[in-house]
Structure formats: C-alpha cells, structure tokens
C-alpha cells in the first residue's frame, strides 16, 4: 500500500522519463530563450551603437539585467504549458493518468521540473553565455554573475556603515534599524521563494485551463489581485486611519510600530506571505492532478 503512494525507485524512473519528455517538448525553446537572447541583445546593441555612436560597444549592465529577467520570466511562463499543458487533452491526458506512477510521484516530478530544474538550467545557460560574451568583448564590462556578487558585497559592506555621515544627530537606534533592514534585504531567501510564486501560478494554469492557458492564467491573476485589493482596502483604510490618529497624538509611537512590526520582521513577513501563497498553489496543483478525469 505504501509503495503505491511513493516509491523512490519508481520516482527516479518517472522523473527521468519526465525529464526526457520535457527535453523533447521544451528543450529547443529553453535553448532558444536562454542562448539566443544574450547573443541577440549583444549584436543588436552593438549594431545600434555602431550606427548611432560610430563605435563598437556592448550592452551595459542595466540592460543585460533587464533582458535576463525578461528571458527568465518568459521561460517560467511558457514551460508549464509546453511540458504539462497536454494532460488536459484527452489524447495525452488519458495516457498520462494511466501511466503506472503514483499521483505524488507525478506531482513531485512536475514541481521539481517546473520550479527548480528548468529555471536553474535556463539561468545557468544564460549566465554562462553572458560570461563568455563579456570575456570575449571587454566593452560589455562585468558579466552578470560578477556584477551580482559585487552588489551583494556592497550591500554587506553597507551593513557596517554607522550612518553618521548622513546626519551627525543620527541616533544609535536609527543606525541599528538601518543595519537591520539591510541585513534583512540581504537574505537570499527573500528572493528564492519568489521563484515558486512566479512559476506555480503558470503551472496551475497550464493544468487547469483546457485552452488559452497562459492568457487565462494572467487574467485570473489579475482578477485575483483586483479582488484581493477590493477585499483588503477597507481593512487597510481603517488601519491607515488608526495610524493617522495615533500619529497626531504620539508621532514616535508610529515609528516604533513600523520598527518593531514591519522592518525588523521583513524576511519573516515576506516568507510567511510567500509560503501561504505557495502552499495554496501547490494544493491547487495537487487537487487538479488528483481530480483530473478524461
């Protein structure tokens, strides 16, 4: 009975099959997005610089970061539809459902592929090629990895600054709080769990909608965020009014409240909200797999 729920050997077999199927269905798209975009960006920028500035110059760091983020978003948005979207079709879906692997194994493999394997492979390919281009042409400056490392280092150093250069009257409390905020935004977990928040809605959309999967997912996200804003706005308005009232009486109390409740717990608040969102999305994917019929 337990073997029917999860079996490591069978999971390994299923994951390798899933990986191969994803390679067959999405391998070319992954290579195109990850390898073509840095090359295209390089040549297009260089061509524009040749025409407009009469000199050879590669894309600067800001533009490269922007294109990298866009490419990664394209990757996680299009991958689930190509790899798993077909399970809602009768032709493939009936085969997929009767494939002798447990629901949990199919679910785990799906999540691993969508949230870890494909984004990491895509990012590594992109960053690797970016590094190669930067090594070949010094006009591009630093590669994205080195640039990122430098940024992290600078942020780390900023943590040690006592802030007395801003204002001589700065208090020890203010400096400590600033350090605390910097320490928190330096925490990689603040950003890592965002990957799941971006990929999971598109995976759920791919296996939930029968057609127009990406468009419907975007529309659904828009509808959900609008509904959430409408529901939350009275609560937030009340809260804001309360703050204003308190501020009139005791301005320091407000600062104290933000310090204690918000800034000191940035990572905790971010992790909590992301975890709740991700758990809800994971539950959605699980129940869709569990209840899928053909």
């Amino acid at each position: 009975m337990k073997k029917d729920i999860f079996n490591f050997r069978r999971f390994g077999k299923y994951f390798s099959t899933d990986f191969r199927t994803c390679c067959a269905n999405y391998g070319l798209s992954l290579l195109t997005i990850s390898l073509l975009s840095p090359v295209a960006l390089y040549f297009i920028t260089a061509a524009f610089n040749m025409m407009l500035r009469n000199g050879w110059d590669g894309p600067d760091m800001g533009l490269r970061v922007f294109v990298f983020v866009v490419a990664m978003i394209c990757l996680v948005v299009t991958m689930p539809v190509k790899c798993y979207g077909r399970i809602t079709e009768k032709q493939y879906g009936s085969f997929w459902l009767t494939l002798p692997a447990s629901r949990l194994e199919k679910f785990a493999s799906m999540i691993l592929m969508t949230c870890i394997i494909v984004p990491i492979s895509g990012a590594l390919l992109y960053l690797g090629l970016d590094a190669a281009i930067c090594a070949l042409d010094s006009t591009c400056g630093q590669n994205l990895v080195a640039g990122g490392m430098e940024l992290l280092q600078k942020m780390g150093e900023a943590q040690d600054v006592t802030f007395n250069f801003i204002d001589e009257n700065i208090t020890i409390e203010d400096a400590t709080l600033a350090q605390e905020i910097i320490r928190q935004v330096n925490n990689p977990w603040m950003y890592l769990d965002e990957i799941f928040c971006i990929t999971l809605p598109f995976l759920l959309g791919a296996i939930f909608f029968k057609n127009g999967k990406t468009v419907k997912t975007i529309l659904a996200l828009f509808a959900i965020s609008t509904a959430t804003s409408i529901i939350c706005s009275p609560i937030l308005t009340n809260w804001a009014l309360e703050i204003v009232n308190t501020a009139n009486e005791d301005p320091m109390a407000i600062l104290q409240m933000f310090n204690n409740k918000l800034f000191k717990n940035l990572v905790l608040i971010d992790t909590l909200t992301d975890t709740v969102t991700n758990l809800a999305l994971l539950a959605g994917v699980w129940f869709r797999i569990k209840t899928l019929k053909h």
Binding site: N7, R10, T21, A24, N25, E89, Q91
Partner: protein
C-alpha cells in the same frame, strides 16, 4: 476478474430541481435523469476478448474510461481483482493498458517512446514491441509526430500489446487503419496477448473484429442489451444465409446472392454468427433478446 455492480454515470447535473436540471452548456432545462450508463452489472472473465458494441453515444468510451480509472463512477462500483480503478494505484495501473480512440503524436521516435515509457509496465517487452511494429509494418525509427494517423495508431497498438498487461482496453482500435492493417491487427491481438488477460475492444466496425471477439457485449442507452458468448448466441439464434425468405425471421437483410436472416434457433441448428446482423436484430427486438439471453 472484473466485477461491475450497478454502475451508473452521467455527464450532466442530476437532481437539484426535482425531476429537471439545467444544461449549463445550452441553457436548457432538461430531465434530471441524463445517465449515460445506468444499472450496469456484469462480470468480465479472464482469457476472453470481449467485443463492446453499441450505437454512437451509448457510453462505450465512458464505460472503458470508467474501467481504466479515468473517470469516477457516480453510482455503483467496479472491482478489478479487489481494486478500484479510480484509485489509480501504480501496482494496478502496471497491469492495465487503455488505448484511447485518439492518440497523441509525441515529439519523439516510436522506439524512444517505447523505451521511455515501457519501463513502467512490469511485463513490457521491447522485442515484442519491435516484432508487432514489424507485423504492422511501421518503422520504429520514425518520429511519432511525423507519422500518419494510421501509423500512429499502429504504434500505440504495438505499444499496448508489448505492455503485456492482464487488462487491455481498446477504444475503436481499428479506426483509421487500412484494410491490410486490420488483418494485421487481428493477427497481432491473437498472437501477442496473454492467456489470462481480459481484453475489451469497443468498435463500430464489427466486421474488422468478427473472428476475434467473443463474448459480445451490446450496450444501449442506460442498458446492456446483450452479454453473451458466440456459442451462446448461436445456440439461441439461427443465422440463415439462403435466398429463401423465412417467415419467422427477426431480422432480414438483402445481400448480393441472397439474404442474411436471423431467427430464434428452435431446432438447435449450427450457424455462423454475423455480428452486423446480430447487432441489428438486437436493436430491433431489445426486450425479446434481453428475455432470451437473461433466462
């Protein structure tokens, strides 16, 4: 063995408004009783190739998908060797293969597909896959999404037979096959299936499978009109191929050079069962046939 007890399934909404319900797709008020399958009970035994016949829309595909665990029975139950198909347990699924009427053109070579997926079925044999592909005259090195629909269907048939499962359900397997392929299919099914397997093949093309299916199950709307072996059928019905019309014929059809006539076998004579004539006879005399075979 497969035991089906009081199986019921509907695609629409039932209940809610007493005897009516709302068809959401068309906005019509319809009778609540829209069961495709209702009160279906039967046993499917090992070592048989069952032919599942019925008009369009009587629920043949629904029946097969329920047996394969692709749908959940809304009423009654299906028991396959003590398991419920809808649980989709891997140990159960590895002994079952369902060949859908529509098959997916995968983005890989047929041989790669077989190697990639075949390992999940414990009885899968890659040599058998290649053998059946040869019998069906399809190149295993060809990419599946470059195949014609007939070649694709044959690839899936080869895969289904190579899985060597105890339970094999095929939905319209001969659709899209050319005439030689239908003969090759019959040959492959008889040669490459297990002695103890339960094979259920749904078809409209009764002639394609005439010599291999036995027993015959004829479904009607919400009912099973017939579930009998060829021996039982020929024991109870007589198929006459002479040119002289019979007065007591239940069904008569003119064919070049004579007639096919079906009547009750009152004198225990032997005759060759013609499935098309049988199907038409059953449909024209539903209650009579049910009465004869349910005795």
């Amino acid at each position: 063995m497969i035991t089906i007890n009081d199986l019921g399934f509907t695609y629409g909404e039932t209940g809610g408004l007493g005897s009516i319900s709302l068809d959401k797709t068309k906005g019509h008020i319809l009778p609540a009783d829209r069961y495709v399958l209702k009160n279906i009970s039967m046993n499917l035994e090992e070592g048989r190739i069952y032919g599942l016949l019925g008009e369009n829309g009587v629920g043949k595909t629904t029946f097969l998908t329920l047996l394969s665990g692709l749908k959940k029975p809304q009423h009654g139950e299906i028991d396959i060797d003590g398991r419920k198909p809808y649980d989709r347990e891997p140990s159960f699924l590895s002994d079952l293969y369902y060949l859908s009427d529509e098959v997916a053109p995968m983005n890989m070579k047929a041989i790669d597909y077989a190697m990639n997926y075949g390992k999940f079925w414990t009885g899968f044999d890659i040599d058998r896959f290649n053998e059946v592909m040869n019998v069906l005259e399809v190149d295993a090195q060809q990419k599946m999404n470059k195949m014609s629909s007939g070649q694709l269907k044959k690839t899936y048939i080869a895969f289904a037979l190579a899985c060597n499962t105890k339970y094999l359900f095929m939905d319209e397997p001969t659709n899209g096959l050319d005439i030689p392929s239908k003969a090759q299919f019959r040959k492959a099914v008889t040669k490459y299936t297990r002695e103890d397997s339960v094979i259920l093949i749904s078809t409209h093309q009764v002639r394609d499978l005439e010599n291999i299916i036995d027993p015959i199950i004829i479904l009607d709307r919400q009912d099973v009109l017939l579930n009998a072996s060829i021996a039982e059928i020929s024991e109870k019905l007589y198929f006459d191929y002479s040119s002289e019309p019979m007065e007591n014929a239940l069904y008569r059809e003119m064919i070049p050079g004579g007639n096919i006539q079906v009547c009750l076998n009152q004198y225990g004579e032997d005759s060759k069962v013609n499935l098309e004539a049988l199907f038409n006879t059953v449909h024209q005399h539903k209650e009579l046939i049910k009465g004869i075979f349910n005795k």
